[in-house]
Symmetry: C2
Subunit: 400 residues, 2 copies
């Protein structure tokens, strides 16, 4: 029997207990041993819940119990999760976490501690919920130089953009709808401002580069400025607006960015609607690949956590580290302003003014009076900013 503890009995943590119980038989067959939840750490009690008698309030009870081999962390946030997880590793326990904030900020350090001690620190659920993208990167896509990884990594904003596209409604209306349905938090900032997607692309970029990416250095724009008019133009161009988190290889490093993009129907990400997530990868040998699935939700995310537990359990007794290349050395990202796109631009001025500022343009019509809308040729962010000084800019969206 392999005994585990779950730290944080919220949505994901209770999902982990549910997956382990519901699929006990098949998990036992795959591990070759039974997985049992010995403790649940939470500040609250859960009277009447089947795990009631296993609830503890002090993480040291878990750290000091030599019977606990694996600890699941589903608390969220950097602290106290970081202190607790580090303590568990130092006490000889492997860890699986769903916590993107912890992994983005402390991934390299916790991986190094686990490696030194022949333990494992795994985090499949931290990006893309149930989509097995993390393990695919470090176990399967290992023969390739990854030239691009671009994802729809936030289900809340993708749901909102999908609804805006289907219903023509505005940002505030769909936000309220998403909140009523439980797809968006009462304080939606982490999602709609792009911070959630930013941590996730930082994790993916760290994994494909093997170095630590500082998520605070990734230029991040959210979807709060997207209007029904932008959506109408997108439809007129047969494109969709999606919040894309992207890293593209440029020389020896990557250019990373989180922002709304216009995605054309020939791109695999075009078809990703609603709360689904997807990760597009281009390898120099593999070519294009895409991973698609439920990016959030209790059971899909818990499924990924338990898959980590199964993987760790199969490498337990004697402990064996599953190598993950993610060093503490920081990756110097390339300045996103040197990267080129086509831009979709809306201005208050005339097409002549736009041509004078941008040179060759391709005008776009969606029956909206009093403005000029157009696509530029491909140019760097820096060049765009310079040229945009010559027009009365309403808005601009990058084109994928």
């Amino acid at each position: 029997m392999i005994q585990i503890a779950v730290m944080g009995y919220g949505t994901i943590g209770s999902g982990v207990v549910e997956v382990i119980e519901k699929n006990a038989e098949i998990i036992r067959a795959r591990v070759g041993d039974e997985i049992r939840v010995k403790y649940v750490l939470d500040l609250r009690d859960f009277p009447g819940d089947p795990i009631e008698s296993r609830v503890v309030h002090d993480y040291q009870v878990i750290a000091n119990d030599p019977e606990v081999a694996i600890v699941v962390e589903t608390m969220g946030g950097v602290e106290p999760a970081y202190t607790f997880v580090k303590e568990m590793l130092l006490h000889g326990k492997s860890v699986s976490t769903s916590n993107k904030n912890l992994v983005a900020e402390k991934g390299a350090e916790l991986i190094a501690i686990a490696k030194e001690r022949e333990l494992n620190f795994q985090f499949e659920a931290s990006v893309g919920g149930g989509i097995p993208i993390i393990r695919s990167i470090y176990k399967s896509l290992t023969a390739d130089v990854i030239e691009e990884i671009s994802g729809i990594l936030n289900g809340t904003t993708n749901y909102m953009l999908t609804k805006m596209t289907e219903d023509g409604s505005d940002y505030a209306t769909v936000l309220k709808e998403a909140q009523d349905l439980g797809y968006a938090e009462r304080d939606p900032g982490a999602d709609v401002e792009g911070h959630d997607a930013c941590r996730k692309i930082a994790i993916l970029t760290s994994l494909i580069s093997g170095k630590q990416v500082d998520f605070q250095k990734i230029h991040t724009e959210g979807i709060t400025g997207i209007t029904p008019e932008d959506i109408r133009y997108a439809l007129a161009m047969k494109k969709r607006i999606r919040l894309v988190a992207s890293s593209v290889r440029t020389g020896d490093t990557y250019t990373a960015l989180v922002a709304p993009f216009l995605v054309g129907e020939e791109h695999p990400l075009y078809t990703v609607n609603g709360v689904f997530n997807a990760v597009f990868v281009h390898g120099n040998m593999l070519g294009d690949a895409m991973f698609y699935g439920s990016g959030a939700g209790k059971l899909p995310t818990a499924s990924a956590v338990v898959a980590d537990v199964v993987d760790i359990a199969k490498h337990h007794a004697p402990n064996r580290n599953i190598p993950i290349q993610w060093d503490q050395e920081e990756l110097t990202l390339r300045d996103y302003k040197t990267f080129s796109y086509r831009f979709f631009v809306r201005t208050k001025g005339s097409a002549e003014e736009a041509k004078a500022a941008f040179g060759e343009i391709e005008t776009v019509s969606a029956g909206i009076a009093g403005e000029t809308a157009f696509l530029t040729t491909e140019m760097t962010e820096a060049a765009f900013e310079e040229k945009a000084k010559g027009v009365s800019l309403i808005s601009r969206i990058r084109v994928k």
Copy 2:
């Protein structure tokens, strides 16, 4: 340095050498050691090729060289690949293969031999080319009961069906086009009759069930009977015809089938066009997921083989077996005739005759004179066959 041998220097084998050379630096960083191709086994010589001096014609040279740790098999076909691969394992060498025929027929046995000897037998490239579906099943989707796995697993037929849909051309025309482009063999039977997809779904079903599936027991229909009229009806229903290889969990086993299906636009497989492959998975906790990418082609397939080599190399010295649950016990598939679908039916008779035979029907119009076309309610294959005796059947296609 880790020395390997490549058996079979055709398209995939030469791709393996190319990937190892082009990505030598990043592969070295990931493995922590250099991978070097010591031998290439082929019946032919390759004068002028950089590997010229490494070509051997006798597989025993490789088997008896203790310096060779890993052998790649890219010859294709069951024999002599089976004899050679088994001999390599018995001589203490791990193996990676791209050979679906070998894996479908001998997978369980070769996995067992590898396990006994603390070696590895891996086969990521045998299904879906560069798409990392095999390792995802045994390493990542381990917390789930897989309730369905359905794939577009053959690029040739998907290319042909896509062209028939886009151009309205007939089967013979697109086959010739595919042959001229090198997408189809001169003898296209393995692809167009569904045999290739059948072996691949047998491999996937063995992996999700943990038991050996006999591919000969999977009911298999190809695309040779699909006509431009079928495509017109599909378009009228906003569906696409795709060759789908599918296994669905029914009780304690699976129902497997390879056949053309009408796929609706709400299904993730709907968007998979051209030579691309995709695998749709439904887990009881995970929900829906899909893996998409190049299902064939020299470098994508070679990328998957080299990823196996990297994985094996990381588990080399001391050798450690990466457990794959696929026992030699045969899985008794459920009779496909007990499985239910809706059917799209074309008959020479009247709608009244169709109603008399099938009860409730939904007629479909595509402006084709002299026939009645309709969708049935959901019914078993057996029930369909019985009812179809009451009509003058032109054709029928299952609906996904």
